[in-house]
Amino acid sequence: MDAFLPLLTIFMLAVFVGFEIITKVPPLLHTPLMSGSNAISGITIIGALLSVASPNRMTVILGFLALVIATINVVGGFLVTHRMLGMFRRKDDPGAGRG
């Protein structure tokens, strides 16, 4: 139980950081924000990786399913966000949006 408080602290602080940055994202980019943050929430892939390496058969099976869909989330999320963001351009600087 003694590990709980530091974790809760991190959770609360991260929520505040999130509120601070995300309120600054303009409506123009709200769709890429959703797909991009979605890709990031695929971080559960780490838990899936650990479960796949477990000696327990059931854990491996559930972990493998999680690994597949978390990878879809990560790869699909970052790629589709990249594709979308590449389209946001301004006439006077054609390089913008490409990175």
Binding site: V17, G18, V25, G36, I40, T44, L62, V68, R89
Partner: protein, 464 residues
Amino acid sequence: MDNAINLVYLAASVLFILGIRGLTHPRTAVRGNLMGAAGMLLAVMATLLDRQIFGAGPQAFAVILAGVALGGAIGATLALRIAMTAMPEMVALLNAFGGGASALVAGSVLVSAVDPSAQTAVATVASGLIGSVTFWGSLVAFDKLRGLLLPDAPVVFPGQQVLNGAIALVALGLGAMVVADPGTIAFYAGLVAVASVLGVLLTISIGGADMPVAIALLNSYSGLAAASTGFVLSNNILIITGSLVGASGIILTRIMCKAMNRSLVNVLVGAIAEGGGSKVDADAVYAGRVKSTSAEEVAMLFDGARRTVIVPGYGLAVSQAQHQVRDLANLLESRGVEVEYAIHPVAGRMPGHMNVLLAEADVDYDKLKEMDAVNPSFEQTDVSLVIGANDIVNPDARTDPSSPIAGMPILNVDQSRTVVVIKRSLSPGFAGIPNPLFAADNTLMFFGDGKQAVLDLIAAVKES
């Protein structure tokens, strides 16, 4: 080694935060997204060096390789094939996978846990509950957006709220049993099953035009599920990332609700259908007052116009007219007309939907104006061209306190000199009410499919 891995996790968390910060401007957004991807790669690499995985031998690595290859192939195919008009469906799917993965990981930890702590057990319950609701809720949202099985309209029936409440209580009861007796996996399985039903029921009551709220909220849930899984594993990076995404979804949800002047509860129970106040008779609003127009007449209007504002709605996405709209705008600009786009926050089926479509058609993002920025300029606008939008330009929201959409911020197109509305018919929008704009003295209705109507306009302007 564990310390080193945690340091890498810290670096990855920083990259995620910097990555999201990059999304605050279109010029830095691509770099931001790449930073996020780099953070993810770092975190995955570090995890592979974990004792548990490294010690598990080549067999575990083979399974991992297979899973990543399969998921990566599916993800890449989806991301590269999906049409920009279908982006709401894509995000709904991604939400589903995020939530599902969290519930699965929590379950996979529980089945092999030896005497799990109270923290682990409670977090597992949270992860299973939120993850399952997110997974099934998002699949329902996906289905509604695609128009596969379920209707676009809210599915409501008597006693729905009571039923939902009862199911939520059962889920919480099962959750308590998981905490009391983590060894009996059947309790967790039951929790996931009941939460799945809850996810379906909570989302079928949400109508198509409220999807921006639903998707934003499910986005938030998928983050919270990941954070809960972080508490299961006592893993900082999952907690940090999950709470970032959770915060993001909550903020978007709030913005969407505000843009409709509705409470979150009101959206969730699909209440607009029976929204209070007088039911206005469509005939009384429209009879004898609606003026239908032709492409030639609109072309003449454009001929004398200095400033035009294009107002896109969901109808633009349905008829996939974004490229034609861009062609029309370019043509008008070449004739000296100033053209801007007015984007309502809830236009379309997800936050930012219209912006993505117009960006795909190579519209300069500086021309995509937010509601508050563009509203004061309608009085100086000669022609407002409304394409496939309805409720977001309904002046009743401003003037009729008994209207179901009273108080909803709208685009004040009625203040421009002339309004041209491209629409298939006079059928009501999502709110189910007639729109006095269509019968206003300065409004001309151009009936037809969005894409074809714009093509006709282009031809007419070229001839004039």
